[in-house]
């Protein structure tokens, strides 16, 4: 079955009424429990290396996309687990975000099945496009409450030919300031870890200049993500070292306990209500899921 046929079948499955939920590989929270469950089409439709784009079903495992792109020396900016659709619906970035940017910037075009059971296209196939409102960014991070992703065209990037993690006892903000575009700067209150990619001579030069020691792996990341303004990360100096790993310059803090619920202002809550009312008036898609409450 072609991807387009699979999308048609997927839309029929979602249908126009009744509660319905969607799952990928269940690595990012899985479906809403107790509700009829559907899965998005999977499979890579094409890769265009000279365009740096790939089209695939939303149910395609990230690992498959990564392996296929590796053959062309490319990759996508999506953490390598679960499905593409799940990763986009949740919208969490990878530890390389400091240099590689957020997940939301990777989607060029997507199709989703709406609450009415119709296939809706957003965005366009080219790497640059401002035709119409940005429904792609609306969908990324919307956790399947506005529509179920069916297929996507993603922007790829060159896969680094040389990449190396380093550690250092130096202050992470000093490293952030003196290194040119580090891919990641992590800190646990005592140790800093830095990921660099690029030309091997440049890596050596940067490492020597900043007294970095090569290491095999980055630290293990505690399971919960806290999202804070990067300027407030200095407050972590007052916390016991080793209880967190912070992404310096980004503002994600990985901790063992979950983040407290967000406290959005009433205008933001109202906008969310209005958007959801427009896109899913009956609240049938992933029913009960409150995007402002999940972390």
């Amino acid at each position: 079955m072609s991807l387009d046929d699979a999308i048609g079948a997927f839309a029929a499955q979602v249908g126009p009424n009744g509660p319905v939920t969607i799952t990928g590989l269940g690595t990012r929270g899985g479906p809403v429990v107790g509700v009829r469950t559907v899965r998005a089409p999977s499979g890579i439709e094409w890769i265009q290396p000279a365009e740096m784009t790939i089209r695939c079903g939303a149910g395609t495992p990230v690992a498959d996309v990564d392996a296929a792109l590796a053959e062309h020396g490319q990759c996508v900016v999506i953490a390598d687990f679960g499905t593409i659709g799940g990763a986009l619906a949740v919208g969490h970035s990878d530890v390389r975000r400091l240099s590689w940017g957020p997940v939301r910037d990777t989607v060029l075009q997507l199709r989703y099945v709406s609450a009415a059971g119709e296939v809706v296209k957003a965005g366009g196939p080219t790497v640059k496009n401002v035709s119409g409102f940005d429904l792609c960014r609306l969908m990324v991070g919307s956790r399947g409450t506005l529509g179920f992703l069916a297929d996507v065209i993603l922007r790829t990037r060159p896969r680094p030919t040389h990449e190396q993690w380093y550690s250092s006892r130096r202050d992470p903000w000093a490293l952030l300031g003196e290194l040119y575009r580090p891919t990641s700067v992590l800190w646990d209150g005592t140790t800093s870890w830095v990921l660099l990619d690029g030309h091997p001579d440049d890596l050596r030069g940067q490492a020597a200049g900043s007294e970095l020691v090569a290491v095999d792996t980055p630290p293990d990341l505690p399971p919960h993500r806290w999202s804070v303004a990067p300027s407030t990360l200095t407050e972590l100096r007052d916390e016991p070292a080793g209880t967190f790993v912070a992404e310096i310059g980004v503002g994600i803090v990985h901790r063992s306990r979950p983040a407290p619920p967000a406290e959005p202002d009433p205008e933001t809550v109202e906008l969310h209500r209005r958007i959801r009312d427009e896109f899913d008036p009956a609240g049938r898609l992933n029913p009960g899921l409150d995007v402002l409450a999940v972390t």
Partner: protein, 488 residues
């Protein structure tokens, strides 16, 4: 409010001011509200050829001012339109239906700069280049650099999700905006997005960027700053055949190199610019590519060498690498003064903006030349080749009978061949009024209805810059008026 009531609110009271103007003067300082005919007429258009109709122009100085204006607009049921510098090319800031023009020109302060975490808060009227100039001493810059950067505003950049030569590697405006404080169309004020990387809920920031003034007025913008690169190499490569140059663009990307910028100029453009700035450009050649690679020294050197090799396989003529900052500046001046230079050829120009897949560049460029020739028009091409973003520039003299119609007909064909080649309507100028009625070339009715849903969620009364982007009356009951100068 009925159409009649809207009309009445524009009718001057005996002492010369309309009730609308009087009300605006009661919520702002009177000198911030301008309704003189000649002054208001200045705000009937942007940098496109489209002309609308404004009832009054307000110069906001703060979020509170914008909020006060928007509340008055709601009270009178009169539309409003945010305006930055008016350099938009798609009619985005053209006032429709006697709208209140909300100028942000006086909201031009840089509010805070954090050079460590590389973020800044600015007011929307800050000019793009002013921002980068004022923070240059901190070793950082704001990456989006539209060719209009000396005059366009950050608020306009946000609304149009603008691009520029250096957006190839670093992304267009949306990738550089963390948060927007906005006055929503109902007058409420909120911050969309945030300095934190993953604010809870929908990406309302992402949705606002590129919404062309239809989701409210940005009153503060939190921008991402980038570290200035330690090394830069700027190359000018010329070709006897446009197709060779266009092909090289794909070759470079396929090789795993994403330069900071890849710009193309064709012969007519090279000649116009050379006559203007005398930079020693290869005027005998069919086209030239201006390529810039940035970064650490070994990477820059390796990429310059590799690009040279790839160019050799595409019959490159000359390869000129700028020897110093002065030569680099001169080459960029050539690129950025193209618009000034063409004024010497003909008094008028129409600048198009479409995107095609990079590998279709040779073929579509060929079609663009054919279309222009068939309509007996001169076309210059100067564009962001790296991301396939074409900018065919039709130059003409509007006094010639029938020429304007030919320009419009040719433009329409250029847009259609671009979309037919797998491309899109606009890469950076936006849809506005100009391409509103071409949206069905890319989107089905169902797709457009979803965009209208989003618009309605932000602006149920359709007061914020109505009549733009969406082709058919989008559930707002607004009957589209046809602006002067429309060609679709």
């Amino acid at each position: 409010m009925t159409v009649d009531a809207v009309a009445r609110s524009h009718v001057a009271a005996p002492h010369g001011t309309t009730p609308l103007v009087a009300r605006l003067r009661s919520v702002l300082r009177p000198d911030q509200v301008r309704d003189g005919v000649s002054e208001v007429n200045l705000y009937r258009h942007d940098a496109s050829n489209l002309v609308g109709h404004a009832s009054v122009v307000c110069f906001a100085e703060s979020t509170d001012d914008v909020r006060a204006i928007v509340l008055v607009a709601n009270e009178f049921g009169v539309p409003f339109v945010a305006r930055g510098s008016g350099t938009g090319l798609a009619g985005g800031a053209v006032p429709m239906g006697g709208a209140i023009v909300v100028s942000t020109a006086k909201m031009n302060r840089i509010l805070s700069v954090d050079p460590v975490n590389r973020v800044a808060w600015v007011e929307p009227g800050v000019l793009n280049l002013d921002l980068s100039k004022q923070i240059a001493h901190l070793g950082v810059h704001f990456a989006p650099d539209p060719s209009s950067q000396q005059t366009c505003s950050i608020g306009g950049n946000v609304a149009n999700n603008s691009g520029g030569p250096h957006c190839l590697a670093d992304g267009v405006t949306s990738a550089h905006i963390h948060a927007v404080e906005a006055v929503l169309p109902d007058g409420s004020v909120t911050v969309l997005g945030g300095e934190e990387p993953e604010p809870a809920g929908y990406d309302l920031r992402g949705v606002f960027v590129g919404s062309e003034g239809m989701f409210g007025v940005a009153t503060k913008v939190c921008v991402k700053l980038m570290a200035n690169p330690p090394g830069v190499a700027t190359m000018l490569l010329d070709f006897a055949d446009v197709a060779d140059g266009a092909q090289l663009v794909s070759d470079i990307i396929a090789d795993g190199i994403v330069p900071a910028a890849v710009e193309m100029m064709d012969q007519l453009c090279l000649r116009a610019v050379e006559a203007f700035i005398h930079a020693g450009l290869p005027v005998e050649q069919a086209a030239a590519l201006l390529i810039e690679v940035v970064g650490l020294p070994a990477a820059v050197a390796a990429q310059v060498e590799r690009i040279g090799e790839l160019a050799g396989r595409r019959n490159v003529g000359g390869v000129r690498v700028a020897a110093d900052d002065a030569e680099r500046a001169l080459l960029w001046k050539g690129r950025k003064s193209a618009f000034g230079a063409i004024a010497r050829i003909k008094p008028n120009y129409y600048l198009h903006d479409t995107v095609v897949p990079r590998h279709k560049l040779p073929e579509v460029l060929e079609q663009v030349y054919e279309i222009a020739a068939r309509h007996e028009l001169l076309v210059l091409n100067v564009f962001h080749a790296g991301d396939g973003n074409l900018h065919p520039l039709l130059v003409y003299d509007a006094r010639e009978p029938g020429v304007v119609e030919r320009v419009h007909a040719a433009g329409d064909e250029i847009v259609r061949v671009s979309v037919a080649a797998g491309g899109v309507l606009s890469g950076e100028h936006g849809i506005g009024l100009e391409k509103r009625d071409l949206m069905p070339l890319m989107f089905s009715e169902i797709d457009l209805a979803a965009q209208a849903d989003l618009r309605r969620a932000f602006d149920p009364r359709c007061l914020s810059n109505p009549d733009k982007v969406l082709p058919s009356p989008a559930g707002c009951g607004d009957i589209h008026s046809i602006p002067e100068g429309a060609w679709v």
